[in-house]
């Protein structure tokens, strides 16, 4: 594999910035695509080269697989980094790259395709011996069969419609007595909703955590686990806060989950960076959920506790590099927390808040990392995901990391648009979060219960009144009449221009 001289970044926002930084540190030239909405974006400003790929809508720009590969060939890029989202997990795109002899920085198209199918990946995991949520997608035509299978799995169980989706035809069953009623209800609801009333059974995992394992695979057959990330804090299935290590994963569990993740990756012939997501139940049992065949949004927390640079690792692996033995059995050092800064208004049901960023001050100083895709004066476009970027802190312990995060959030200033910053400030005062008592439903439950309200208690309640009144008074004074000059309410600037014309004389 020849070393890369130029890489095309086929993404936007903070992840494009992250990859551009990684490329610059390796002395590789960075080229980035942009849509019309992103010509003034930070990725373009930091890249060595920038190419328009189309109008604002993703379908006409960042999703144009063919045009992107053609561009890469035209500008003689050696490789394409897909970031996350858009084409990152698109097997056809990876295949197009391969055909054009441009290195796709990620796994093979085959591995992407296999892991992209829920059914296929579940089958593969069972075969490889990776634990999956017990149950089966065989239909249960009678209540007796359902009861027998439920007994086998152990209660609580989850009845699910084969044709299901959106929670319809789904029933949690806690005891054997409840099963017959639930079975009938699930079938009839399923039939009414989907015209097909077959149901199947899965073990119901109560208040699980989302814990995922970062893996790296090189192209020489070596796969390593780099430890776990705790990503249980989600709003409507979207991760909001991530940390490493997980407050409940000890060395032994880390080893077991890491082994399972490596087994999963080896089974798929996986290369480059990837993540195996698990549900972790309250007894410490874990179950394969899915594999993300790309760099994750939350990769920085792993970087900060392992000291590794995952983008560098991706680039080195893609150039044929080998994973060194120092990555084997790596243990986390200290604690890292990431919060995702979304342009959403937590005061108003998280409605998106695009617009111009009138003021922007990042926190700085010890243990603070800013991975962001915006700058003061930039526009947050309406067309894409509302994530501005991420703030990540590191400290020796979880406790200290939370204190540092609170300090960093107090330093941040983002004005002009609304962001999720106040939510995080509230979260840092929540007893469950402080104690690390997390599960994937926790954030939605708390928000539904009206907790975590971003109420800000001002040290001085009158402060906004004082600040605005003084501002107003100053403006009044600046524009107000100068009594000697005729008594009118003549703004000072008009007076100045009058003086100017007097000095010039009427003949000028």
């Amino acid at each position: 594999m020849k070393p890369f001289r130029k890489v095309l970044v086929a993404n936007r926002g903070e992840i494009a910035v992250r990859v551009i930084r990684g490329l610059r540190e390796l002395g590789i030239r960075s080229a980035v695509i942009y849509s019309d909405a992103d010509r003034q974006g930070l990725p373009v400003m930091l890249a060595d080269e920038a190419y328009r790929i189309g109008p604002a809508p993703s379908r006409e720009s960042y999703l144009r697989a063919g045009a992107i590969v053609e561009l890469a060939a035209e500008i003689e890029a050696d490789a394409i980094h897909p970031g996350y989202g858009f084409l990152a997990e698109n097997a056809d795109f990876a295949r197009l790259c391969r055909e054009a002899e441009i290195k796709f920085i990620g796994p093979s198209p085959e591995a992407i395709a296999e892991m992209g199918s829920k059914i296929e990946s579940r089958r593969m995991m069972i075969e490889a011996g990776v634990p999956v949520v017990p149950g089966g997608q065989d239909t249960l035509p009678t209540v007796e069969e359902a009861a027998a299978f439920a007994e086998e799995l152990g209660y609580p169980v989850l009845l699910k419609a084969i044709a299901g989706g959106g929670g319809k035809g789904m029933r949690v069953v806690h005891t054997a007595e409840d099963l017959p009623g639930a079975y009938r209800a699930a079938r009839s609801e399923s039939g009414a909703s989907f015209g097909e009333d077959s149901v199947y059974l899965e073990k119901f995992i109560e208040q699980p955590r989302h814990v995922e394992i970062q893996i790296l695979g090189d192209e020489h057959g070596r796969v390593v686990s780099l430890g776990e990330r705790e990503c249980s804090l989600q709003r409507r299935h979207q991760k909001v806060v991530e940390e490493a290590p997980s407050p409940v994963v000890d060395r032994e569990l880390r080893r077991r989950m890491g082994e399972a993740a490596v087994t999963a990756a080896v089974a798929a012939g996986y290369t480059n960076a990837g993540t195996v997501e698990f549900l972790l139940d309250q007894d410490g049992e874990f179950y394969f959920l899915e594999m993300n065949t790309r760099l994750q949004v939350e990769h920085p927390v792993t970087e900060m506790v392992t000291g590794l640079d995952l983008v560098r690792a991706q680039l080195e692996i893609a150039q044929g590099g080998e994973i060194g033995p120092e990555m084997e059995g790596i243990q986390p050092r200290g604690h890292a927390i990431e919060v995702r800064l979304y342009a959403e208004d937590p005061y108003r049901g998280f409605v998106p808040s695009p617009g111009r960023i009138e003021r922007l001050r990042w926190p700085e100083g010890p243990g603070v990392r800013n991975d962001c895709g915006v700058y003061e004066g930039s526009e947050v476009p309406i067309h894409y995901d509302p994530m501005l970027g991420k703030l990540i802190v590191w400290a020796q312990s979880r406790e200290q990391a939370m204190d540092r995060l609170a300090r960093a959030l107090a330093e941040i200033r983002i004005e002009g648009i609304r962001t999720t910053v106040p939510l995080f400030a509230a979260l840092l005062e929540d007893a469950d979060f402080r104690a690390g008592r997390l599960d994937i439903g926790m954030l939605d439950r708390k928000l539904a219960a009206g907790e975590l309200q971003p109420g800000h208690e001002l040290e001085l309640a009158d402060l906004p009144l004082i600040a605005a009144a003084l501002e107003h008074a100053e403006r009044q004074a600046r524009y107000s009449a100068v009594p000697a000059a005729g008594g009118g309410r003549r703004p000072r600037w008009r007076q100045a221009s009058r003086r100017e014309s007097l000095r010039r004389g009427p003949w000028s």
Binding site: S353, G355, A410, E415, V421, P464, L465, A467
Partner: protein
């Protein structure tokens, strides 16, 4: 100088007197000695008897100010007392007329959920806007009759654009 400051619908009388060591600000019974300096752009540092506050004050139209505080943004309105009294009289008048519902974010109108002449309750959905890949419903804040629909499906709107008149 005497001013009226409106905050969350409440009115506050604020008196300001410039002094040597800063301005003396009186709000009701409370008196503050405020040393205020601009730092950069809209940012000011206020030192009030030792306590330091960094705030950003952004004037909007009509005496409204957006005040950026640590972790929050508030909007208040500053008026001189005479204007305020005059407007107060007018406002009572105006509140009887139709109210305008505006878009609180830019987006595209995906679906109109009401028709002209329809009666709506507070909380009823009026329109679905799509912005940043998510759909968001704008709901009626008060009950009334939809007098006018000012947008059509598929139309792009800016934050603040009027959508409906409800009266």
């Amino acid at each position: 100088m005497e001013l009226i400051v409106l905050r969350d619908g409440e009115e506050h009388r604020v008196a300001i007197e410039p002094g040597d060591k800063g301005s003396v600000v009186r709000i009701g019974e409370r008196t503050y000695l405020v040393d205020r300096v601009p730092t950069s752009g809209t940012v000011r540092s206020l030192v009030i008897e030792g306590r330091q506050f960094e705030v950003s004050v952004r004037p909007n139209s009509g005496g409204r100010y957006q005040v950026g505080l640590p972790g929050a943004i508030e909007e208040v309105e500053v008026l001189d007392p005479l204007t305020y009294l005059a407007e107060k009289g007018g406002a009572r008048e105006a509140s009887r007329g139709p109210r305008t519902v505006t878009a609180y974010m830019p987006g595209r109108v995906v679906a109109l959920l009401v028709e002209e002449g329809q009666e709506v309750e507070s909380g009823d959905g009026l329109v679905v806007l799509e912005a940043m890949k998510m759909e968001n419903e704008i709901r009626a804040e008060t009950a009334g009759v939809v007098r006018k629909i000012l947008v059509s499906e598929g139309q792009a709107v800016e934050g603040g654009d009027p959508l409906f008149e409800i009266g």
